[in-house]
């Protein structure tokens, strides 16, 4: 299907550059100038991808990005399972983000666990006019009354909160005191703050620092006895069970995972984390802040890792083990060897069906680079990638460790650009989100959601790679894609493309 099959890198680069110029033509001049800075063709050897990032989206272009509330409630705080997260403001934000992120967890929902519930202050006009602080205080009373086994409360601010001058910090403080030192966390993640989900991650990280770490009681007896092998998983949201299929590997190599941030996590696990000997960080973008803080404050080193695909998993296991003694180093080798036959079998089965297939990605802040290795393990090639909310340090990591020469890079891509890029490049697979899925499937291009794993997963770890490989094969080689064109319709468009 790929038209780029026989092209040289130079030809690909020229084509991609031309493509960028072509899409920019649709914009008014000012917009074209601004968008030009977010699109590039990667040059091997450069230290970053040559695009601007973490800048305001342009009005009216159909950005795919979300907001700070989505970054805090939806990503960082929402999965903490034994706390109740109030979507504070009007009903919509909480409603649309209700249980849609597949952060798996174990617990009795509604009794001691609350992840897949929607708690909202459902603001009415009078709350906007007179302020919502009294209502918030009452909500906390009602939560205590109806959900006595909750271990804490967070207040996830929606847009109006910061605009009407509510003092959620004061309410939280007073109620925390009233409830005997209960953890109550006000989070200033109003959707208009920042340029994307990213600031919401940061604000949420800071809230953990200020309202969990800074309030730790040094005299509180420890939940467990420390060992030299205690680590915390940071930045894994347990989508479809990702953190579980990661945790099992860390434990098999001789480490002990004392906390998960934040998929299937609990308040106690957040509180445990300063006891870790090492923080292992999967999603750098959303949780580097708290990792850096723990390094400074508690002297805990942190290490980025990548559990997508056997090559990166093995590399990561060894990297993590290098922080520990031989017992763990040997453990890492043992784990790699144990899963080798499974990986060989998965690759033997799926690689022949996927070899040479071209992929375009557009995801959040980590996966546009992190999954590249997994595709490469299957003989596939990522020919275009971009982030919704990456910063420059993400593009540096992407350039230095992941993408090939000539890869098309698109930051905060617009609906129009993405559609045109895919139309022209004709990849064999697009990996992006629910808003993009059906656009490309209509075009006859196989697609997998790379936020929710398209309701599958886990994709992390060795167990997850088997599912990942199966899913990519299922997407690309589904018979349906041969049926998109009615047989009696002449196929001018694809002939034209093939002749190019």
């Amino acid at each position: 299907m790929s038209v780029a099959e026989s092209e040289s890198v130079a030809e690909i680069k020229a084509r991609n550059k031309e493509l960028i110029q072509e899409v920019l033509k649709v914009y008014p001049e000012k917009t074209a100038k601004r968008r030009a800075k977010h699109l590039n063709v990667h040059e091997a050897g450069k230290s970053d991808c040559g695009v601007k990032s973490n800048i305001k989206s342009i009005p009216g272009v159909m950005t795919i990005r979300g907001c700070a509330y989505a970054g805090s409630k939806g990503v960082v705080w929402g999965p903490i399972k034994d706390m109740i997260h109030i979507s504070h403001g009007p009903v919509g934000c909480g409603q649309y983000s209700w249980a849609s992120r597949r952060n798996y967890y174990i617990g009795t929902t509604g009794i001691d666990t609350f992840v897949t519930m929607q708690f909202t202050s459902d603001f009415q006009e009078k709350d906007i006019v007179f302020g919502g602080d009294k209502k918030l205080a009452k909500i906390m009373d009602e939560i205590q009354d109806l959900f006595p086994l909750n271990n804490g409360i967070t207040v996830q601010s929606e847009c109006p909160i910061g605009l009407i001058g509510d003092d959620i910090e004061a309410v939280s403080k007073a109620k925390a005191k009233e409830f005997g030192g209960k953890t109550i966390v006000p989070v200033r993640c109003e959707g208009f703050r920042g340029v994307s989900q990213s600031l919401g991650h940061h604000i949420a990280n800071d809230a953990v620092r200020d309202y969990v770490f800074d309030k730790l009681d040094p005299n509180k007896p420890a939940l467990f006895e420390s060992t030299p092998y205690d680590v915390a998983i940071i930045g894994d949201y347990n989508i479809g069970g990702d953190a579980w299929s990661s945790r099992i590997l860390l434990e098999e190599m001789g480490l002990r995972v004392i906390a998960q941030w934040s998929g299937d996590g609990s308040l106690a696990e957040l509180e445990n984390t300063p006891k870790a000997k090492l923080n292992v960080l999967h999603c750098y973008r959303s949780m580097n802040y708290i990792s850096r803080h723990m390094e400074e404050k508690f002297g805990i080193p942190w290490c980025e890792y990548n559990f997508f695909g056997p090559s990166k998993i093995a590399e990561s296991l060894r990297k993590i083990a290098s922080f520990f003694d031989d017992h763990v180093k040997e453990g890492a080798e043992r784990v790699i060897a144990k899963y080798q036959p499974l990986m060989d079998a998965v690759i033997a089965k799926y690689r022949p069906r996927l070899e040479g297939k071209k992929v375009m990605l557009y995801v959040g802040g980590l996966r546009p680079r992190h999954v590249i290795g997994a595709y490469e393990d299957l003989g596939m090639e990522v020919v275009g990638t971009g982030y919704e909310f990456a910063h420059n340090d993400d593009y540096q990591r992407t350039a230095q460790h992941y993408v090939k020469d000539g890869t098309l890079i698109y930051d905060d891509v617009t609906g129009y650009e993405f559609e045109k890029f895919v139309e022209k490049i004709q990849p064999d697979l697009v990996g992006s989100g629910i808003k993009e899925k059906y656009v490309f499937q209509k075009m006859g291009v196989p697609f997998r959601q790379m936020h929710s794993w398209d309701y599958s997963g886990p994709y992390h770890g060795y167990d997850g790679f088997a599912i990942f490989a199966r899913d990519m094969d299922m997407a690309i080689n589904a018979p349906v894609w041969k049926m998109a064109k009615a047989p009696w319709k002449n196929d001018d468009k694809s002939k034209l493309l093939a002749a190019e």
């Binding site: 009005p59 159909m62 979300g66 403001g89 906007i128 847009c159 499974l342 059906y438 167990d463």
Partner: protein, 519 residues
């Protein structure tokens, strides 16, 4: 290790394996600081009691698991139903990401919509520049025939004035002066998605009928024989609008569907992405002022729109999501009365087939108790149908239903002997429903996808009818209106009843004497 390449285990089975079970038990016991399981069990039981229900119903501030969304969602629903129209939501951009995802998860279709991407500086200085740039970009990139503007709560709180902003944008050349940019203020802190539908629909009609915000002459109404049709916010819009068109064509009626989103949310996979497809033409929207009458299928979705239309001299007739035989009878007879067209024999035959199906099956539904939740009109239509089947809709709840709706529901209950023990719950949420399902149990629950949590917690089998339906596919393609729609609803209810019966009788040598092959 249980994973293997020949038979790849999904999350369903993978985590049930012994290694994972042991790992998760260790995690729980060592690190999570979990509550004592006996205490969890005690609270779980307590949450089923009358005492808990009373506390639960005494809530004044907290909303838990509401069955409603916010206004702009309804505005986007309306906008995509017009030819070549891009919905433009003025305010924070995250909202638009949510609306698009929400609709795509329900319809399994793309939903195009743009935001003016307001951030902190716009919060301070207002979003005028975002509007100016945004309209220009959308106009250039997506070549729309119309851009329909609504607002998020951010823009409403800071008091942005859409009328003035759009005028200024046109003066600045964002879009040509004659380009159609209807608008509606849709504050999320007032009403729900059905209010947003109402405001947006009214906004578009007002634009075309009342002189395009001063840019054109007001249209002088010259009554014709056509009728206008409003579906209201409807998760079955694809199937329903097609069914309604079929009925109208069968009757030989001239009609205009206002906000016809049945094509844009059901485009083919044939190699081409259609950002726009079908929809009410702008000409038709403008000419709709001349219609003899307007029919609304959902009174509570269209209150302001209907009163606006009535003020323009048309007769307006509102229904409450007709599903039952009687309700569809009324619908057809009203259409016949208004247009002077006879109801054709073909529709009488369809009616007869629905009655026939009810006669064949009602023994399985008769006397069964149902809880229903959803939008006010949907609840009414379903309750009316159940009463017709001899079932008892004992618990009817609409988070976005008001006092007026509750009174109408009560009148409906009072009209039937099967309504005697039925109660209506306006303004309540699904956590209230949870208590009710424990203290006043029913045989079946009717609601949207979120009802599956109630099914799990209370053991009440869920019949999925409503919006959104995320976890079952393609239901929106099948109408729930007209006699054919009534038949679909009947079959949906029956399927669950029979499945539930089979599940309750399939234990060999224990219960399977009732595992009948013929039901």
């Amino acid at each position: 290790m249980s994973q293997n390449a020949d038979h790849v285990l999904d999350h369903f089975d993978l985590f049930r394996g012994p290694e994972y079970q042991e790992m998760l038990a260790n995690k729980r016991n060592l690190f999570e600081n979990r509550r004592d399981p006996a205490e969890v069990e005690r609270i779980r039981e307590w949450a089923k009691t009358e005492e808990y229900k009373e506390k639960n119903f005494a809530r004044e501030a907290l909303t838990i698991n509401p069955a409603k969304a916010c206004q702009p969602l309804g505005a986007v629903f309306v906008a995509v139903g017009f030819e070549g129209t891009v919905p433009f939501v003025h305010g924070s951009q995250g909202c638009v990401a949510y609306y698009r995802s929400h609709f795509s998860r329900h319809f399994k279709e793309p939903t195009s919509c743009v935001s003016s991407s307001m951030t902190e500086d716009a919060a301070v200085f207002g979003g005028l520049n975002n509007m100016i740039d945004g309209l220009a970009n959308t106009y250039n990139m997506y070549k729309p025939k119309m851009i329909a503007v609504s607002t998020t709560c951010m823009a409403e709180v800071i008091g942005d004035d859409l009328n003035a902003f759009i005028k200024t944008s046109k003066e600045k050349g964002s879009v040509p002066a004659e380009f159609d940019v209807p608008f509606a203020h849709t504050p999320a802190f007032v009403g729900s998605h059905i209010t947003g539908y109402d405001n947006a629909m009214k906004g578009i009609l007002q634009h075309f009928w009342d002189g395009k915000a001063g840019a054109a002459e007001k249209v002088e109404r010259k009554p014709n024989n056509s009728i206008n049709f409003l579906g209201g916010f409807d998760g079955y819009t694809v199937g329903n609008l097609r069914e309604i068109k079929r009925i109208f064509n069968e009757m030989g009626i001239e009609y205009t569907i206002l906000g016809d989103n049945s094509d844009v949310w059901d485009t083919p996979t044939d190699g081409e992405f259609r950002m726009y497809d079908g929809g009410t033409t702008l000409e038709a929207a403008a000419n709709a002022v001349h219609a003899r009458a307007t029919i609304s299928m959902q009174q509570y979705c269209t209150e302001k729109t209907l009163s606006f239309i009535a003020d323009h001299g048309q007769e307006v007739v509102a229904f409450n999501h007709p599903v039952s035989v009687k309700a569809t009878d009324r619908l057809l007879m009203e259409i016949s009365r208004i247009t002077g067209k006879e109801i054709p024999e073909s529709l009488a035959r369809e009616r007869g087939r629905l009655v026939d199906a009810i006669a064949d099956s009602s023994a399985h539904v008769h006397g069964k108790k149902f809880a229903i939740y959803g939008d006010p009109d949907l609840c009414y239509g379903l309750a009316e149908f159940l009463l017709e089947l001899g079932a008892e809709p004992t618990t009817v709840l609409a988070t976005n239903g008001g006092k007026d709706w509750a009174a109408r529901m009560q009148a409906l209950f009072d009209s039937s002997p099967y309504g005697k023990n039925c109660k209506v719950y306006p303004g309540k949420d699904l956590w209230h429903m949870r208590s009710l399902l424990f203290t006043d149990p029913v045989d079946f629950l009717i609601g949207n996808t979120y009802g599956k949590y109630l099914d799990r917690d209370t053991g009440t089998p869920l019949i999925r009818i409503g919006f959104p339906i995320f976890d079952r596919h393609h239901k929106h393609r099948y109408p729930v209106w007209g006699y054919q729609g009534g038949l679909n609803v009947l079959v949906t209810i029956l399927d669950k009843i029979f499945d539930t019966m089979d599940l309750a009788t399939n234990m060999p040598s224990k219960t399977d004497y009732s595992f009948d092959i013929i039901r």
